[in-house]
Symmetry: D2
Subunit: 354 residues, 4 copies
């Protein structure tokens, strides 16, 4: 990490960047109100810090040995002493601010009518962002893989419905990318690129998605510790894209005997992550519990734990859904969730301020 002097010139900054590249690393230049900080992407042990410390314009040069540094609070504090958290703007929605953000919609887009009907329902319920799966990651090759599996034409059609529904209802839209070949296509149609839990470790996909310069929502893998979750978010930041929205969606259940939930929603990860990084973090109670009857309680709990918002699967008739019906709630139930969560959020935020 290279901290530049307040009075460092652009030329001096460019020179440091050039020097960094000589050693086979990349530079992450962050310009704050008071100073510029240059993060190093790559193996810092190759860098002769004493040499960098005396380059023109450099105030300090030091090694940072954590696997996530570009997304750490320590890093952002160096150039932005004011705000502790990053706010990510998508359309007229701010993720990471005081208001909790609700992403809702069907697990899988099935047809135009289904998507629009649900989109209208969640809009009325107070949701902010529309989700809908087109490329579905599935445990079995023999299960429905989403409309995206039926070839590029059908994939584009489904993506265009999503974009259209978002425009009509003035909601940004998000969908999951599961493989590298889907990134370019999907990025044309949606506002936020989602990388699912199962793909969290897919560093080539993360890198490719990051380069689209759109916000990326990254879900924690169900086998990843917090450190590893953040280390993979760092792959996105390393491409210069800091618009990363983290999402806790449950880790592997353990324990003798049945557990009654599909995964274990690790809510303590939420405040723990907020001590480490400036990035916003949401929770997904739908996939975590796999149970419609636990969504209300776990939504309230996630917001109380400090989540900046929720992703909730919604369907006007869950029993009819092709995928994951047992965990979806209706738009009416969503409204109750949003109302309660907003009141809890105000309570938790106001308490923090006093």
């Amino acid at each position: 990490m290279i901290i530049m002097k307040a009075e460092a010139t652009e030329k001096e900054i460019a020179n440091v960047v050039k020097e960094i590249k000589k050693y086979g690393l990349r530079a992450d230049v962050s310009r704050g109100e008071f100073r510029t900080v240059i993060g190093l992407v790559g193996d810092e042990r190759k860098i002769p810090f004493s040499h960098f410390a005396v380059l023109p314009g450099v105030k300090e040069a030091m090694m940072v040995e954590t696997p996530y540094k570009l997304i750490s609070k320590e890093y952002s504090k160096l150039f932005d002493e004011e705000s502790e958290y990053r706010t990510i703007k998508v359309g007229n929605i701010s993720i990471g601010g005081d208001e909790p953000i609700f992403i809702a919609g069907p697990c899988a887009v099935e047809n135009r009518r289904q998507l629009f009907k649900i989109a209208e329902g969640i809009k009325k319920a107070g949701a902010h962002i529309l989700r809908g799966g087109i490329f579905k990651p599935r445990s079995s090759v023999h299960s429905f893989q989403g409309l995206g599996a039926n070839g590029r034409e059908e994939a584009e059609e489904a993506l265009s419905w999503l974009r259209e529904a978002g425009k009509k209802l003035e909601m940004p839209v998000i969908t999951e990318i599961r493989g590298e070949t889907q990134v370019d296509l999907v990025a044309e149609y949606v506002d936020i690129l989602q990388i699912g839990a199962r793909n969290m470790y897919d560093q080539d996909l993360l890198t490719k998605a990051a380069r689209k310069n759109k916000p990326v929502l990254l879900k924690r893998h169900f086998g990843a510790g917090i450190e590893e979750f953040l280390s993979f978010a760092e792959y996105i930041a390393a491409e210069g894209n800091k618009d990363i929205i983290l999402c806790e969606r449950g880790i592997l259940p353990i324990g003798k005997g049945r557990n009654y939930t599909r995964y274990t929603l690790d809510l303590a990860a939420i405040p723990a992550i907020q001590k480490e990084t400036y990035l916003p973090i949401l929770a997904d109670p739908s996939h975590a519990t796999g149970r419609r009857d636990l969504i209300f309680n776990m939504s309230c709990a996630a917001i109380a734990a400090g989540a900046g918002g929720l992703m909730i699967e919604t369907h006007y008739d869950p029993a009819e859904a092709l995928v994951d019906g047992q965990q979806m709630i209706t738009p009416d139930e969503l409204k109750d969730v949003i109302d309660a969560c907003q009141r809890i959020r105000r309570l938790v935020v106001s308490n923090k301020e006093t």
Copy 2:
């Protein structure tokens, strides 16, 4: 399970109980407003249900094959059609009602002065029940094991401080029993017997504690699924003691890389357990997270998830504590927690009613 007719006489009930014993099982007689239900303790496959079905006064006789039936909602609904949950009264405190209950105090009782000072602090902060460890379960034989390890005399002295503090401040008191030989002694001094996570599987201890006819607080083992947790609570109910307070305190963390919390607080277990049993369930954010700076958020989250109360380690000077200082909060911090939790509880409960 034997459901008696509404008009069944005491003699008929006694006769059924006698018949059950003949087959080597025990009877759990539950008298409700409308009818009496007799649960069977033991292997129901030995029972000839067709024979029981025609005994005088019997309405229905049927096999129930779950490992927890005496504590299940199905069982209680048979004789009590009104209330879904059991309220456990200790002194003037009701556990399992609308008001969340806060159990606070030091991890370990160290001396009289320390205990009284903390007790006064938590009383002022609004806590309802005083806790203090005297027999401490520890991973290392070389660590401080609590004053109870210094022989019966010191154990009794510490227990008497606890009782005295409780009386003075009008708070019921609770402490942990770790081994069978401690049960009789501890039961003389405290209002609630606590069985810690590590002893959850100790069925002989559970049985012995149950027989004291005092409320038993049972913590979930960090390796136990919900089904197994409830199956061991059933050991207490099988002794005729249904005053069981469950407590979620975190399960084993998993995941590659560091996790930043000591255990994983499984908050979804709380509403999931409330679907299964009429027993109240609390949460212990102190042991679950092992981090003082996460207590506020995780307390709020536990209450939002539906917990009937919290157990929180408290110390006027956490840095000075002999055990677990890094996870204790001060009485002032406890007050903030209680205030926020009470407001969240009202919000969650009122929402349920509408």
Copy 3:
């Protein structure tokens, strides 16, 4: 699953395949000595089995609802009543036969000299297949990612060393593909495509790799149960490629307190998997334990458990390796491992025959 009559004609088979496609599924045609069986790829609930049962040449048509059916023993037994296991031939090596197969080599290819020196060492030690990582999956974007990270030219150079070393020493070669864009390139140079544990869930990568019609070695994800591991292997089989080599490499460690191994090598998964599928399964004690001093014992144990071979990281000077030095053994140590394992294998196999 459609079982054809022994006397079914090619035309009848083609007709069934055509019919299957009409319903949006794909057909996996397996021709055995006695009969032909047609597996269905996709959602079998869409198929009217009664209609298929009466098509010309069809003996039986039935639904199979497991997530892995094309790789199941049940399926292969229908058309091949003789052999229980599939033998995969690569060059003059047979994987899945009586002889245990040893894949060895460096964690990462660092330069030509290093690769050749190690390759010669392992050849002399008795290894059969040469491994060497070029695209390395890493937890930290700041760590060495393999020579493949330095652009296509360096990647090809490293791949050509691998191919050259293999030719010179008459050993098939294997390397890992981490992202879809690497598949075409890597398939030009190596004999076996490896998909690492972290990419096990990457169904697009699996599909793309399967289509190269080369054997694919698939490692179990550290968070995957056996059922899920096999379900993802099925993604490869669904492309018509049954040359799949499974590899157990350790699952997430759990437990309070330190565990002293990096992962938990799940050796019981090996015989358990052999009851389910005809595919060969190997073990990787290097990544599983992360400890050089446990490799000998755990190699012997894996072979005793029934593994068809091992993948072991080897380096002439582990201390000098850029990646994972602490878990590599020398060629001399490898020789001891191979000798002991071959003797154990003979013992275990001979016992099975009696």
Copy 4:
């Protein structure tokens, strides 16, 4: 830890012990061929080591801060430079030597005839020690809890059968103690006291069992890391009883999808534990897998991993067993296991020596 001079007198040793007690700790005096070492039981931070270093006869006084020190190799090497492992003698059987030891018998003792018939079968098969459960730990209070649950008289009768069978067939016998009140009784009848996985954390039970001065077989809890397993074995050693036999019996399974084994047999724990302690370690493939058809492979694997023996549930007619029939093998199958394991053991041990 206090290392005495070679020429230290008994009086000097006694004086050091007396001094230790003054500080509230206990002394573990180990006399080796060359010198005496005094381990400290309790919190060593209370000890002024500089004061002890100058006491008469003391060579060195130093703090050791691991949770298991009395059972560590470092400790034993100080006074016994010769042998790396402890051999525990029970009757004419040596546990911890070159020969693998086989403990076999029924899960639960059901009646005299069943026990004797099985005992004869396992003796003929080559087993060394007879096991049989009388106090059974069970997940459900409604399941068969062993004959010990029927009162003291039946418990004693079952114990006397065990003793009688052992005498008749010249095999030491072992049974499980589940609660403190069973220790005195059971110790009268058996040669080895077993503490099951579920009771591993029950420090009061461990302490009480240790004091009977009989070998104690301690099973690893399914949620315990290796460090914690050894830390609880230390509770036994702290009572002066070093005749501790460790036993790995599987840890909690994890992973999405079904796992096909009841627990995960952590075989790498075996060599890892042998690097830490001089105590012998066995494996129990019956409870670990819960599957009869995996016993042969996993037994061979455990011995290959370095286990000093196995505990295997055996029944002449598994289908007839009241408990755990699906995981028991017959005496004939046991013979095959023992034969194969003995050959593997010779192979592994001879390899170590060269």
